[in-house]
């Protein structure tokens, strides 16, 4: 993991002040010029049902039990977490397709993406999506806006500050000062670039208590990759060894003569 914690930027999500207006969804589409998708109402406000190649962020609506009210209605932003130890970056085979911006975000270059979807397999949060050209599509922390001194489109639009952009350290300090004991993503996966001020257990908000890079990626990384080298090397070495030690195959010439 690279040492960039000092300059690292982040988005702080505070569901307690999110009003579910979805200005963030629209702002993201406007800035990234993403088309609208034909959807259906399936009996919930949540639409699209999950992240899509044309939806880099979304609000998840969940109705959870409440002691005082008919329900507790949670609005939780969902998007790329910009992990420090990013499963997608670990596994991506295409040089330059995924890259770390100077603010610490995981951004992508569609021209370099080969569409292998390993990032899909490698993401702890099931974030990357593929567009109609088979290229990765996800939140990139508006690094193109940041380059011009602007903040991401979603945080700029958010009317209540449920999405806030800033120095990661500062955001964490502020959230803690505001009374949020634990900041989700503060240390997970080397520290997330999308951090959450949760009042209750992350699970309630639809996030795993301890997010992890999928086992398959770890296995791939720790076992299969070395095995691919050992396998080829072993085969070649074995052949060489066989040639030197045993030599080419010899048959009993008698057999031939008899027949």
């Amino acid at each position: 993991m690279t040492n960039r914690t000092n300059k690292r930027k982040a988005i702080l999500v505070t569901p307690e002040v999110c009003i579910g207006c979805r200005g963030c969804q629209t702002a993201c589409k406007a800035w990234n010029q993403l088309p609208g998708m034909k959807t259906k109402n399936t009996g919930t406000m949540q639409n699209p049902p999950d992240l899509e190649p044309v939806d880099y962020n979304m609000i998840r609506y969940s109705e959870v039990p409440s002691e005082t009210n008919p329900v507790r209605w949670l609005f939780v932003s969902r998007r790329c977490m910009h992990c420090d130890d990013a499963g997608c970056m670990r596994i991506c085979p295409a040089p330059g397709a995924l890259f770390r911006t100077k603010e610490g975000a995981v951004a992508f270059d569609k021209d370099k993406c080969i569409g292998c979807k390993l990032c899909v397999a490698g993401c702890p949060f099931d974030v990357p999506r593929y567009d109609k050209d088979g290229k990765i599509a996800k939140c990139h922390l508006c690094y193109d806006r940041l380059a011009e001194g602007m903040q991401p489109a979603c945080t700029k639009t958010c009317p209540t500050g449920a999405l806030r952009f800033g120095d990661r350290d500062q955001l964490i300090a502020q959230a803690k000062q505001a009374g949020y004991g634990k900041i989700y993503g503060e240390a997970d996966l080397g520290g997330l670039g999308t951090i959450f001020a949760f009042k209750d257990a992350p699970k309630l908000y639809g996030y795993a208590d301890k997010p992890n890079i999928p086992e398959s990626v770890i296995f791939w990384h720790n076992v299969l990759k070395p095995l691919a080298v050992i396998g080829l090397g072993g085969a070649l070495a074995g052949a060489l060894l066989h040639y030197v030690a045993i030599g080419p195959h010899k048959d009993d010439d008698e057999e031939v003569k008899k027949s």
């Binding site: 009003i19 579910g20 979805r22 969804q25 629209t26 609208g36 109402n41 209540t160």
Partner: protein, 831 residues
């Protein structure tokens, strides 16, 4: 709004009732959040549904739609019983001590009716709704508030019946919840605590809509929350410029600046002024409306210019007049159209085929027209009504014209927000295609109509041909080539037509030079020497030291009070006052009730910049420069009221001086639980079969409300064409409780048919615990809700659904005639 958006952050308790700001005014929640974070403010949400606003509430109370007065009546009783009102404020700044006519009877005395009701005309004779006058001609008062005829005692009497049991039975809100809300809100009755109320169509769109708001006004006066920073009663307007359009005379019964439209019997300007100018003999009352004559005369000068002369009554005769008792409001207008009384119709920036209550009737009405002009950004269900569902184009003779209008970013001008800020904005791009700004469309129309009158004459050409139209350079025929919107703004602000002097001063002091823009409405004259298109906007485009200043274009960010008034940012009517009735935020000596948030305060030492005499108000622009009430020349704080005080007793209403709970026209109950009078006795009832309504009818057993969601706007003409918005909310839906869904075997996401006495439509079922059945008077009442953003025309594949207004009834509020779309009865079945 009495206050303004940013001011929400100064509140200690925020009551959201009759609105859903998180969804419909999202930006307001920024200030709600600030109040909560910085002041520890509490948010109370009272709504039949657990809305996105409710999701943020500290206290949420569910209440059956249409029972707000009962809910608030219970709060009034709670405040009075527990002595939680702000005593000094109530005795000094409200009419609580005023003695009322002994013959006046409350709705408690007369089982739901106030004294003076006439069953036949369905109207009140308001003779008894008056104050006892003393020999000096002033209302008699009892500052101890003990006199049984004083407003305070009558108020107690009126709401004595609104017990917790009774209110809970009517509203369906559990008693503990009622107490929790009452207690929390009443905690603002202290001088150092302030509560604000945010309402919108959830209060207005009822047959008792105006009284809903009145009930809250009473509470705010009792708690001393009017005029305070973080207080007030705040209407969140549903469109970006609806405040502006109302200010400028959009409604049938008001001219710009809230001047009444004259009726036919008032034939002379003098009579008009006499009739509509309130009077008081109290020297301490400013009674600002005593200036009515100046404002109407200056208005006539603005619209008729040199043609308006003293000799011809300033052209008063040319002003359109209403017939006596004529109601020209929306429902009546379409009822008349339905009856074939109209030939033509301009649907200008609206979509009545989807937005009008009982939209099916509206659509049929349009078919009775000879012609219709649809002025809009897009074609809509109104312009294309003739090919809509149930219409056979062969049978429709209406000729429809579409005039494409420019959008708000394609033109320059001002818009006025809910906080009364008139903000200037600029054109970003040229109008697309053949579309034109509204002003250009009006310009074309005006000169064509005028030339027809000039060439062919007509019954009454003067109101048209005599209009001034100095909005830009004219061509050889006298037609304005292009409207300069600044000229319109200046006309609204008003001019000195002569050198105008203050004749009360000796020697007379020059107020303004001929040809200059008026400094404010203060120097306006009733003698024709000033013009002003809308008096409350005078000062918005003014002249300072000879230089013309567009105050609305100001973008200063100074905030000297620290209360977020931002006096140099744009301009607020009246005279840049950011919080109206701000003289009520100080005690009679001019000291702020709460020194920690002083809107204004009297500085007795500092010299007045104009008079140079010591004593001046600092802070916001005060409601008049007069010194504090307790001083010699002091004035009462409520300058727009003839009596100078806040009206707990409000005799100006048609349906009673106190709000009384009545059921909606369509309700689930056979009888009003609190009186014999089930519905508002003064509402207009429409008689056509298309207006059918059903109360307590097994065919339509469920209470329904219509509403908006953040993803769409109004009838969706602007948002249904936007794939981004449609992606989030693609289809008409119906929210219903899990209990009702179970009863009807409806699953989340199922298609259902919703029907009312007027029509039916399909919707996608959103089954949720956010709606719960109510226990009303011992029986279960289900409440459902649906948005009104959809229409048959777009999306083109019909996947969006239809307008909820196909279901809503043709009935309006007794005072304003706003349709009752928040409480009516429907049935639901699985499609």
């Amino acid at each position: 709004m009495t206050n303004h958006w940013i001011d929400i952050r100064n509140a200690d308790v925020i009551l959201v009732m009759g609105s859903n700001p998180a969804e419909n005014h999202p930006i307001s929640m920024k200030w709600v959040k600030e109040a909560r974070e910085k002041r520890g403010a509490k948010l109370i949400v009272v709504d039949p549904r657990f809305t996105r606003t409710a999701a943020k509430a500290d206290v949420y109370a569910a209440m059956r739609s249409g029972t707000d007065i009962s809910f608030l009546g219970g709060m009034i009783k709670y405040i009075l019983e527990n002595n939680l009102y702000f005593k000094e404020y109530v005795t000094e700044y409200t009419n609580a001590p005023f003695l009322v006519n002994p013959d006046f009877k409350t709705a408690g005395d007369l089982n739901g009716l106030f004294s003076g009701y006439d069953q036949k005309t369905r109207k009140y004779d308001t003779k008894t709704w008056s104050f006892q006058l003393g020999e000096n001609g002033l209302p008699k008062k009892d500052h101890t508030l003990r006199n049984p005829h004083c407003v305070f005692q009558l108020l107690k009497k009126q709401y004595a019946r609104y017990t917790l049991n009774e209110v809970s039975d009517i509203t369906g809100t559990p008693k503990e919840k009622l107490v929790e809300v009452y207690k929390l809100y009443a905690s603002t009755g202290r001088r150092d605590k302030v509560g604000t109320e945010l309402y919108a169509m959830g209060w207005t769109q009822h047959t008792i809509g105006t009284q809903n708001i009145r009930a809250m006004c009473i509470i705010q006066l009792l708690l001393g929350n009017i005029g305070m920073a973080g207080g007030g009663i705040n209407a969140l307007r549903g469109e970006s410029n609806v405040q502006g359009s109302t200010d400028q005379g959009l409604l049938f019964n008001i001219l710009p600046g809230y001047l009444p439209v004259p009726t036919a019997s008032v034939t002379e300007l003098k009579t008009y002024i006499e009739k509509f100018t309130p009077r008081t003999k109290d020297p301490k009352s400013v009674n600002w409306w005593s200036n009515r004559g100046k404002y109407i005369t200056s208005y006539l000068k603005a619209i008729y210019g040199a043609k308006a002369r003293k000799e011809n009554d300033f052209g008063y005769a040319w002003l359109p007049k209403l017939d006596e008792g004529q109601n020209g409001s929306w429902l009546v207008l379409f009822d008349q159209m339905f009856k074939g009384k109209f030939e033509g119709f301009f649907a200008w920036g609206q979509n009545p085929a989807c937005s009008g209550a009982n939209a099916g009737k509206v659509r049929k009405s349009l078919a009775k027209l000879k012609w219709m002009v649809n002025v809009n950004l897009f074609d809509n269900e109104t312009g294309s009504f003739w090919k809509g569902p149930g219409m056979d184009p062969k049978d429709v003779q209406t000729e429809v014209f579409l005039l494409p209008a420019a959008s708000s970013v394609e033109k320059e001008g001002s818009i006025s927000n809910s906080g009364r800020w008139a903000q200037w904005r600029y054109k970003a791009i040229d109008p697309m295609g053949q579309s034109k700004p509204d002003s250009e469309i009006m310009n074309e129309l005006y000169f064509r109509v005028k030339s027809l009158y000039l060439r062919q004459g007509g019954k009454s050409p003067e109101p048209v041909v005599n209009l001034t139209w100095n909005y830009g350079e004219k061509d050889s025929t006298g037609k304005v080539k292009e409207v300069n919107i600044h000229n319109v703004a200046k006309e609204i602000n008003g001019y000195y037509l002569e050198d105008v002097y203050d004749k009360t001063a000796t020697p007379p002091k020059l107020l303004g030079k001929k040809g200059e823009l008026c400094a404010s409405f203060v120097p306006l004259q009733a003698d024709g020497t000033t013009s002003c298109g809308c008096w409350i906007y005078s000062q918005s485009y003014t002249q300072k030291e000879g230089k013309v200043v567009n105050m609305m274009a100001r973008r200063g960010k100074n905030d000297p009070t620290g209360l977020g008034l931002y006096p140099e940012w744009s301009w607020a009517w009246p005279v840049n006052r950011r919080i109206i009735y701000n003289r009520a935020s100080v005690d009679p000596h001019g000291r702020p009730w709460d020194p920690s948030r002083p809107v204004i305060k009297w500085d007795p030492v500092k010299p007045d910049p104009v008079t140079k005499k010591p004593g001046v108000w600092v802070g916001d622009v005060p409601d008049g420069p007069a010194p504090p009430m307790a001083t010699d020349n002091g004035k009462y704080p409520f300058i727009m009221m003839a009596a100078g005080v806040g009206a707990i007793f409000g005799p100006g209403m048609v349906d009673g001086p106190f709000p009384e709970h009545y059921e909606a026209l369509e309700c689930p109950l056979e009888a009003n639980l609190i009186s014999k009078q089930r519905i508002n006795p003064t509402i207009k009832l429409f008689g056509d079969k298309a207006d059918a309504y059903f109360s307590c009818d097994v065919r339509y057993p469920f209470v329904a409300s219509t509403y908006r969601v953040s993803e769409h706007w109004q009838t969706g003409v602007l948002t249904r064409h936007l794939p981004w918005q449609l992606e989030m909310q693609p289809q008409m839906f119906l929210e219903l409780s899990e209990e009702l869904a179970r009863e009807k075997s409806i699953n989340d996401g199922d298609k259902v048919i919703v029907s009312s006495g007027r029509g039916e439509l399909w919707a996608v079922a959103v089954v949720t615990n956010r709606l719960k059945p109510f226990k009303i008077g011992g029986s279960t009442v289900h409440q459902v809700g649906m948005p009104w953003h959809f229409g048959w025309q777009y999306p083109e594949d019909g996947s969006g659904g239809e307008s909820a207004n196909l279901l809503t009834p043709t009935v309006g509020d007794a005072n304003t005639m706003i349709p009752e779309t928040k409480a009516f009865m429907v049935n639901v079945r699985k499609a």
